[in-house]
Amino acid sequence: MANYYLDNTDLKHHLTHPLMKRIVELKERNFEEKDKFDYAPVDFEDAMDSYDKVLEIVGEISGDIVAPNAEDVDHEGPQVINGHVEYASGTKVNLDALVKAGLMGITLPRKYNGLNFPIVPYVMAADIVSRADAGFVNIWGLQDCAETINEFAVEEQKSRYLPRVSAGETMAMDLTEPDAGSDLQAVMLKASYSEKDKCWHLNGVKRFITNGDGQISLVLARSEDGTRDGRGLSMFIYDRNDGGVTVRRIENKMGIKGSPTCELVFKNAKAEICGDRKMGLIKYVMALMNGARLGIAAQSVGISEAAYREGLAYAKERRQFGKAIIEFPAVYEMLALMKAKLDASRSLLYETSRFVDIYKTLMHISDERKLEPEERNEMKKYQRLADAFTPIVKGISSEFCNQNAYDSVQIHGGSGFMKDYACERIYRDARITSIYEGTTQLQIVAAIRHVTTGNYLNQIREYEKEPINPELYNLRNKLTVMTDLYEKAVIKVVETKDNEYIDFHARRMVEMAAHIIMGYLLLNDATRASSFRRSAEVYTNFAQSEVRKHAQFIETFDVENLADYRSY
């Protein structure tokens, strides 16, 4: 009888952010579908109420079904039977409940039987499910591959595939190969067009494919013979009903064990092209990855939530030296910081989701009609912000969830090292988040240009101007001091015009920007709801020491010091 939505009032706080008004208005095209579909909202309040009610269903399924199954799924795991994946029994139960509840195709248009929800409530659902079982969320969350079909495929393909996703078929994105991990330009899976069969055939091997045996897969393959780089790659849709792909093995992993990570063999697998030839990596994978990164950020925040709650419950219950261990400063400091990191990363998650919502929806509207000049500017503004924020939210929230999982185990002491407590599984599940869909190091590569172009600084200046509760002025003063330190550090690094030196300090600079941004987001949260006051205080203290540490490092570190770090 647990509801992971209702028992966490922070979620509703983020769901009801003022910017939702604009998001809903755009997403519902001024509620034009209200007479066409019996489940379409009639106005803003109606839409918001529907998100709330549907998230309540997600919370109930997560608390009552997914969470209680998590331990068994972790032990049982999926297996390969006759070249196909058989999920763990708990996974099947989870998936069946979410499908019956109509929680597939959440963001897809209603004409494809989707719910036409914005990204914000979808991400919130992923946040909630991840708290229950971070491994399971991958199988369910891969439905956002459908967004790529919705964005780039032709209408005939959309009407064939998307209703199937809404009806509960699962998806996969087949990108990685043994020799193409972070460097996807090296993808070799061969796509050849058969004049005889009038279709494409795929041949080769893919590795580390999450839910690789899903019903509908997006496959990155080399369609241009003789090419060796990203420009020879196209995106294909593979339908499992057509056959041709077998699962050779499922990886034995450290964590997220319920999520089948497959090695796939393609043997003349029939496939159809999605979008334009040669745009596979350059355009579609980038879109796919940005969606997936937001998904991993949501997963990370859900894991952070689970880690924090496990740690808190144990610290209150465990008594040593005659009192509950939460009463010791060493323990309560850990918990306060865990909550602050959780709150900070969650605020960044929903801020980024809102940016993505506005620009993506305007982009879809631009296919329907010509945008007004101010709408075009709005789209560009939010696209820039989404591009800038997506790598930091993926990078930071995944690092924070690892830190929180570590501290959760630490609070449990010896018991946390045993399989008897959930924190042990959470600790293992957390580890992948800072690796897949681009490592933290690669997120920094994506983020650094927003440091050098000043995008982060500009947005920080915008946050500075926002009205806040006067009681929080002292925190804002601290943040402006941090911003000066950040600006100074960036000038020093960028002025060298030495790319190696810039790359060397990139993570420090991106982290400084991220800490300041999250600090401001928490000020905004604390202004809207006093319950965030504590986290705003704790996080600002933490951010201040982190920013000063990085500033100090950069200030005293010159180009010639790089030599001490280079490999010999």
Partner: protein, 290 residues
């Protein structure tokens, strides 16, 4: 073949999550302190009905409930999960009914519904634990009944095959339609509320609920007639007023006693074979087991 299925459901106080103020000083249930929920075994019954509908497209599942105005929530909960409609039997005259008066009222209502094939309800409600209403409804309608059902295996050519869960095992029985089936809590849990259906039906209201709200729903209900939930009074279902509610209830509460378990009633035994054997003998002798 499509079926006409009625699910009998009751709104009950959530006696599984009892707080300290759950009972009043006079020993009666403090309903205000307990959340009103869908009786758990009635949810198992609803799931059986919905599964029949999945197997027999074109079938219709109707939720019938008796209670105060707020029991309309039971019909909405049914609609959110896949029921096609519902009726709320509500009237001051129905209040205070025991199982006899309740089954009479329900039977009258069912007679108003055309061509019923199967009536499914939970074995018993968690507030009264009588398990009498389902069987009594069957008797009043002259329908056969299958109790303690765990699974409706098949419905075909006017026959129904049901798996029953009994104290000492399971039993598979066959009967003819129309049939009343009462379902155990061991049957599969009810499916979750559905995201589209909750959006479709969340404004569904009875006439009384609409009158109580300040908002004007006329336009919305004209455009979406399926949002109107039907209320039936004593007159609507042609009940004899003397047979319903408190007046029609021969059950009279004579006295309510608070049973408080005392620690001194406990007994500690060692784990030795002898002690365990003695305990078993004692429990058999006083009919606690066996």
């Amino acid at each position: 073949m499509s079926l006409n299925i009625i699910v009998l459901a009751k709104q009950v106080p959530d006696t599984r999550n009892v707080g300290k103020d759950a009972m009043k000083a006079d020993g009666t249930v403090n309903r205000a302190a307990l959340a009103a929920i869908f009786n758990p075994e009635d949810l198992n019954a609803l799931e059986q009905a919905l599964r029949l509908k999945d197997k027999h497209p074109g079938s219709k599942v109707t939720v019938l409930t008796m209670g105060p105005g707020r029991a309309a929530e039971i019909i909405r909960e049914g609609l959110y999960r896949g029921a096609d409609g519902g009726y709320l039997l509500t009237d001051r005259a129905f209040a205070g009914a025991d199982t006899l008066a309740t089954s009479y009222a329900l039977a009258c209502a069912i007679r108003k519904i055309e061509q019923v094939d199967i009536i499914i309800c939970g074995r018993q409600a968690i507030d009264g634990d009588t398990a009498q209403v389902g069987p009594q409804v069957a008797e009043k309608l002259g329908f056969p009944q299958i109790t303690y059902a765990e699974e409706i295996i098949e419905v075909n050519n006017g026959k129904i095959i049901v798996k029953r869960r009994l104290e000492r095992g399971i039993e598979v029985v066959e009967g003819s339609l129309p049939m009343v089936v009462t379902v155990n809590g061991t049957a599969p849990d009810c499916r979750p509320r559905n995201a589209k259906l909750i959006q479709k039906y969340k404004y569904a209201k009875t006439v009384t609920e609409k009158q109580e709200e300040s908002e004007d729903y006329t336009a919305l209900f004209d455009a979406r007639p399926y949002l109107n939930l039907t209320e039936w009074s004593v007159n609507d279902v042609d009940c004899d007023v003397k047979k319903v509610g408190l007046a029609g209830s021969p059950t009279k509460v004579k006295k309510i006693e608070n049973v408080v378990f005392q620690v001194k009633e406990s007994k500690t035994i060692s784990g030795s074979d002898f002690d365990v054997e003695e305990l078993i003998k004692e429990l058999i002798a006083n009919h606690t087991i066996g």
